[in-house]
Symmetry: C2
Subunit: 201 residues, 2 copies
DNA sequence: ATGGAAAGCCAACACCTGTTGCTTTCAGGG
DNA sequence: CCCTGAAAGCAACAGGTGTTGGCTTTCCAT
């Protein structure tokens, strides 16, 4: 039985209700203006029940963003656990798409709010990249610090590119972004080594 | 007369009182647990006066972090307005130092809070890098989009490295970080071109 | 099926927020 | 030096927050 299934039906139901209500509200108003009352009311759940599941609305946001992004990403990856060109490409395009969605679908007026959501996305990305590289046997594997530094640099470089592309150049396509970012990443000595090592092509 | 000097003495005084009180409180407790009341009380300023200057505590934080970081950075730059190896090196080390200070000096338990501060630092960094490159006449100057993309990638790559180094490898030195990051940045085609173009050495 | 544990509901609390309308003060131009 | 308008003080408000304790409902393991 999957770990998730072990959890009491009521708990899963309530969490899903809260998450759905939250996402629905996010499409209508800014995160800042959404109150715990709003979420509870929309989810048809008592307000104090909200606090039984999340310490505050930030915790709910954290959870909702991480989950939705992770699902979106996993659905697009050709292979879920290796550091390949195709996976990296899918990662870049998924991030770009998600960030674009934050501008379109959600009413996040504040730049600071977007940063909050995006930092949750980054937690997922860093985790995924770390896992990819942990299993690999590239040169970085010998020195964990170098590998982790490469992960940090790569992840945030992709972040910067995706968020710039989504925000400042909305008419661009995901493919174009990937095409532009790849030469930059491959220019990085560490990541280039790792890519060459693990690239199945 | 400097623009800052034009402002009413009382305004500057009150803002400084609030900023100092805020920084002092940050050394004692987490940002989350600090209330506007706390800040106003510590600054010996009426609470509603706070709202005459900042929309909320986030705005004050934004202002305080940006100002302190900008000062710290400007004091270290050999030359304030060109994209040189020395400046980039100073930038990396200042960021690393600042992020390290956030762990030590402040009680920011939450990772999400740190992200909030760091995003303010990034606003300054991106602005500075943009200015450096806007005046330069490197190959990136021909295509603004490529240049801006390079700025985004470079800034966030440095961010990732600095924040990783400060958080996960606290015993490392700033010099070591810079030494490790530089080969990575110079590996990036765009930035490498720009660096070569403007490097006075 | 059933008893107990877990989850949810409810009301009420002390507190913080952001805003308003008013008065008092004082910095700085004339 | 004095006047004036901007800035600071003040009190009170309608909200939202996060927590508590007691109660009812629902699940699910025996």
């Amino acid at each position: 039985m999957a770990a998730e299934e072990r959890i009491d039906l009521r708990v899963r139901r309530t969490r899903k209700l809260l998450q759905d209500a939250f996402l629905q509200l996010m499409a209508q108003k800014s995160f800042q203006s959404i109150t715990v009352q709003d979420i509870s009311a929309a989810a048809m759940v008592n307000r104090s029940t909200f606090y039984d599941h999340f310490v505050d609305k930030y915790a709910l946001m954290e959870w909702a963003v991480s989950e939705t992004f992770r699902e979106q990403l996993m659905a697009r990856l050709p292979d879920t656990d290796h550091y390949t060109v195709e996976n990296l490409r899918a990662l870049i395009m998924t991030m770009w798409e998600y960030f674009g969605g934050l501008h379109g679908q959600c009413q996040s007026a504040d730049e600071q709010e977007r940063m909050l959501f995006q930092s949750q996305v980054m937690n997922v990305v860093i985790k995924v990249l770390s896992d990819w590289l942990a299993t690999g046997s590239g040169p970085g594997a010998e020195d964990p610090i170098t590998r982790e530094l490469a992960v940090a640099v790569t992840s945030w470089a992709i972040y910067g590119a995706s968020q710039y592309w989504a925000e400042k150049n909305p008419q661009g396509t995901g493919e174009e972004l990937a095409d532009r970012v790849f030469p930059i990443l491959q220019g990085m000595p560490q990541t280039a080594c790792l890519l060459r090592e693990n690239d199945p092509s």
